[in-house]
Each structure stands twice: as structure tokens, then as C-alpha cells.
Symmetry: C2
Subunit: 158 residues, 2 copies
DNA sequence: CACAATTACATTGCATCCAATTATTTTTAT
DNA sequence: ATAAAAATAATTGGATGCAATGTAATTGTG
């Protein structure tokens, strides 16, 4: 894709240009960015059935595990800030899957709590991971390696 | 992060639940999604200097290589559609880095062409990749592996 | 205590992203 | 030749993401 190679005047292999580092094909970030969006797109039909977007889905994943969490901690789990989470949590509240209330001990803190309806959603969502798994032709070992490298990169850059 | 383990009533190791597959920590897509956004964020200060967003940057990467390309092909390179590209290309045109004109042979096709000003931008951008490289503590081999796995995954799912 | 600094969340504005629809042009099939 | 189908962008609407700013509550300091 988008491979531009130039022939050296004397030899018959690609000439390395001073701009090679700016080629799309030489970026690590680009396949990361593209892959992320393509996989989120793959989730869509399954998430549509549950009336969830991808971001709402990973938020609910945290809620299913934690039952109760405040916005700051939720943001740390998901690498998202209140600018994204505030409207998203209001939507989840509208749908009846979480409640939002201020902590009595500290009125600045907003506590998000999973509702019984939100808990029920979990049993519908549980089939999604296996449905998604089959669209990836990576071996178990490759998945492990990819997982490890992504978390290493994530740890390095935050 | 977000690790909820439950103790079996009899033994002293984490109980595997029917919902383990829904844990955030067991997802491959989540570090992909988070990592992608974190790295794009890392680019921001450098791209701000060039008055480019990340999406505009990768678009310019294609333009620097191809000089001229139509919207359909550009979309295939970047995994983006006209809904994203049309307004983005209008902004790049406003900044004077590309021109947009219909193909004479087929009026449906819009041809995007790099301008001399756009070409000049390339020499300012050329220092960005090395500036970014130092925020990743992956070895050259790990980068290679990650790169290969991401493209494999990208190939599988599109 | 007074008040400055900090913290936690909400709001605003801009730029994506994407699905769905529309408009226009070109190609295909009868 | 022409109507149907296909191809290519543009448009629209909804949901993020994120930086910057605002607001209210809490904490730290002299």
C-alpha cells in the first residue's frame, strides 16, 4: 500500500530517501490506529443488539467488574477524561444501566453504580468475546505476544 | 488494573467466572484502542507546530508519497471514508497544501494534488518520527513483531 | 480562621469517525 | 438507445475524544 520506491541511478534496488521515515508504511502508529478502528467497527453489529457503543461497552465492562466506581477511577481504567465520560455516563444512566450520585463524604466525587438492569445486560454481552474471536486469525501465541507488547507500549507512553 | 478476583470457597486461588471473558484485562481490543489514542496524543505537540492534526498528518504522508491521488484510493490507504475525508481535505485545501479538482475523464472522481507549499511542509515534518521514537521503549525486534502482528490483524479483519 | 492551591467533575468547542442517505456521473444490460 | 445498476463524493446526524476553561468542594498553610 502506498509503496513508492525509487531506483538508484546506478543500481537496481530501491533508493533510500531522506523521507523514508515519513512513509506511511514505515509507521508503527498507523497500523495501530487503523487496526483499532477496524476492530471497533467489527464489534458494531453485536453491540447494536445491546444498544451499546464500543466506548459504552468497555465502560460497562468496568462496571460489571467493579459494581461501583467514581469517575476519576473509571477514567484511569479507560484512559478517558470527564469530557468523554460525563456525557457517556449520562446516556448509560438514561438507559437505566447505571446510577450517578455524589459521594456524601466528598461532594466533588461522582459515584457511578451498576443497576440490576445493568447487571442483566452482562448475560447478554457474555457471548460477544467469542463472536469477535473468530474474526482474528492470530494464533494464541500471537495474541499473547501482541497483548504483551501493547501493554508494554501503553505503560511506556503514559 | 480493575482486577477483581474471587476466592473459591475451598481453595485459595482466583475462581474463574463465566464472565472472565468480559473482563477488560482479558480484551485484546482495549489495549489496542487505548494505545492508539495515547500515541496520537503524544504526536500532538509536534503536529501542533505544523498546524496538523494526526489524521491530517497521515493524509499528508500519503500525499508526500503519491503527489496526486483520488479520494477513493486515499480512503483505501487510510481506512477512512468520504465522510471523514471530504471535510478534512477541504481544510488541507484551505491551508494551501493540496488542491481538489474533478477528473476530466470521470467527473465523479475527485483528484487531490500536493501543492508546492504542501511539499515544503514535508521538510518540517521529517524530524517528527525520530522525536516520537524516543517515547517508545520497545526494542527494534519488538517493534518489528508488533508491526507484523498489527498488519496481520488488519489484513484479517478487512 | 482566612485564603490560596488543589481536586473532581462539568462544559464548550473543534475535529474526527462512521452509518446512512443523497446527488451526480458512468457503466451495464436489455 | 435507454432504463437500471453501479460507482464516487458529499451531506447529515450521532457519538466520541480531547484540550481548555469553568465551577464547586476540599485541603493545606501561615
Amino acid at each position: 500500500m502506498c509503496d513508492c520506491t525509487f531506483k538508484s541511478q546506478e543500481k537496481d534496488y530501491p533508493m533510500s530517501s531522506e523521507y523514508d521515515t515519513l512513509k506511511l508504511e514505515n509507521q508503527l502508529c498507523f497500523p495501530l490506529y487503523a487496526c483499532s478502528r477496524e476492530i471497533v467497527k467489527k464489534y458494531k453489529p453485536y453491540l447494536d443488539d445491546l444498544d451499546l457503543t464500543y466506548t459504552q461497552y468497555i465502560t460497562m465492562m468496568v462496571m460489571w467488574e467493579r459494581k461501583q466506581i467514581n469517575v476519576k477511577e473509571l477514567g484511569e481504567c479507560l484512559f478517558l477524561d470527564s469530557g468523554t465520560l460525563t456525557p457517556l455516563l449520562k446516556k448509560l444512566e438514561q438507559k437505566g444501566w447505571v446510577t450517578r450520585q455524589r459521594a456524601k463524604s466528598d461532594e466533588r466525587v461522582l459515584i457511578v453504580t451498576l443497576t440490576p438492569a445493568g447487571e442483566e445486560l452482562r448475560s447478554k454481552a457474555v457471548t460477544i468475546p467469542q463472536k469477535m474471536a473468530c474474526c482474528m486469525n492470530l494464533s494464541a501465541e500471537e495474541v499473547q505476544t501482541l497483548y504483551r507488547l501493547l501493554y508494554k507500549l501503553l505503560g511506556d507512553c503514559c
